[in-house]
Amino acid sequence: MSSRNGLVGKYEYVEAWGMADGAHSRVFRPRSVEEIRTVYEQAERDGVTLGLRGTGNSYGDASMNSEGHVLDISTMDAILDFDTETGIADLEAGVTIEKLWKYIVPLGFWPRVVSGTAFPTLAGAAAMNIHGKNNYAVGTLGDAILELDLVLPSGELRTCSRDENADLFHAAIGGFGMLGCFSRIKLQTKRVYSGDLYVYAFANRNLREMMDYMEANRATADYLVGWIDCFAGGDQAGRGLVHDARYLEPGEDPDPASTLSLDHQILPSKIFGLYPKSEMWRLMRLLCNDPGMRFVNFAKYVAGRLEAMGPPKKWRHAEFAFLLDFVPNWKWAYGRTDRRGLIQHQIFLPKETAYDAYLEVMAHNRKQGFVPYLGVFKRHRPDPFWLTHAVDGWSMAQDFRVTPSNREALWKHCAEVTEIVLEAGGKFYFAKDLVIGHQDMLRAFPPDRLADFLALKREVDPECRLQTDLWRRVFVE
């Protein structure tokens, strides 16, 4: 249980972020590269595999290891260096996006790529090669990483960059923790001249309008994200709201020091100064069913139309970037026990087939009675990482509610949707997925890249000691 330097594993329930899956594992939280090696040795001594985990924000089983131990990197979270001239951050890999932005925003910087929640670690975000609402413009997180340290299963530490160990660099980013444990990440961040963004709202009446708007504006907008009311059908299918955000130019903000301060960025924890946001999920739970969510989506659409009539608004960076953190633990509205929760099925499609395939998916959802409670639409661009999900095209993320009684039927429905997507040349994203199988993966990813990745995995981890439930579900026949 406890290893020679006092690193003690804790026996815990390790779960998918969406709560639809989970298993008991012994979790180790190392604080140094030496301790990462100790955890590798411990797993080997116990004769079990090791799964790598950050703060566990992948929707599915990407950081679960029901058949072995788990290494949680989130305790290795020192900010080693930040250069206020170049904006280059040198970080221990367990630093969260939240810790990073809170450190650099008062210095006039913002991470180039962030997820919709601030809680992931950089290690987890790099392993999944996450993207943000600006994927079409700046690429994925991997595109912002300059250098990283990877502790291989052998214990060897390799520094990787575009020049040094370039294969490992491009495979480990997006390699969902199968090649080694990130211990240090060097990241390029972006200078900003205000703590605020201009946000323009455009209410679209159908999917065509949304895609046309985003296509027309992607050369100039810094962020583009669409929200879809998935309950609407017919010629209104895909109706929703686009948020189009733009950084402020130098001089546009008369008092950048004040808008860049944490006081300005961090939202109050109570609504109207009274009701704690941490309790809001209890109210949301009352609406978390088909009729309730039909109403919520309709109300949001109407509110969006009103918002779009007004002038552009200023939003704080943190407020715009981390919409998912506005209500703490909102996922609990979906349930808290017995693997109740949500899955996200995020569909990536090339631009040529996207429009028709999305309409087909949305129609199929409504026909089968599995309507996503939340739909999010984004534009992407390709990148050089071996197992990247990003395409020259679009993605639509759909949140489905999981209950003990709908589980089986929902998985079947997702398989049908997956078939539509694969027919259209689409892809999936391991940070979100809990439903695709081995055959689906073979069809979704380019065979040469996949073969290269598996060869590299065999080379650095010949005994396949790094495993997760995701690996066994998707990569093992």
């Binding site: 026996y11 390790v14 012994r26 808290r336 026990t337």
Partner: protein
Amino acid sequence: MPPSTAEEARPKAPVPRLSGVPAHKRRAIVVGASSGIGAAIAKRLAGEGYRVAALARREEQLEELRASCASLPGEVIVRRHDAHDADEVPALFEELVRELGGLDLLVYAPGIMPKIGATEYDTEKDLDILAVNVAGCAAWCNPAANLFRTQRDGTIIGISSIAGDRGRKGNPMYCTSKAAMNTYLEALRNRLSEVDVHVCTIRPGYVDTAMTQGLEGLFWVISPEEAARQTLAAARNRVNVRYVPLRWMWVGLVLRLIPSFVFRKLSF
């Protein structure tokens, strides 16, 4: 075999009906299960269909417990464990949860109350009490609390005592250990409330167990079985602190109200 005592001749109470707890949520660890309230709780849980891991220092009594539960719907696995031995708990805890296939309930029942003379000030005895009643309690409740926190589900029952309500002349460290337990369990309850994990503190009065044998002036004495019944009922009703039986609540209330200059004149 004909009954040899009047007690055995009495008609046996029917095996309790299976409770409303779903079958996959009937897994418990009972620490201190060789005698007294702990043994009664383990047996009662086995009667309700639980898979129970029963732990105690004395193996013969554990075997007796297992034998007496053989006909019950549940299943009892036994392990020798000395509550002094906090170091072995994390590994043992993991092993038991794996064997049970999960965990829904932890009961910490061990407690020691050595006789302390009126003019005795014995550090060794006192530290021994703390080791079992406090350190042992933390050693078991911590891993359980962490597991329950992560699965957002589970219940912890700590068997404390009404003795924790005041510092009495009779056994200073026993009272202290139970006061420590009360505060610790309350803090755990407050920590875990956000994830719906319940922590129930039981403060028994006099129960007919080895601990009270030979004590004089006992009253309102109940059997360990009755104490176990009331304990589990309180935990299921998500009661925070329950005096067992309930009327000791009034005694506790009065005890706590007696001013110190009067309390020190009292004989107990």
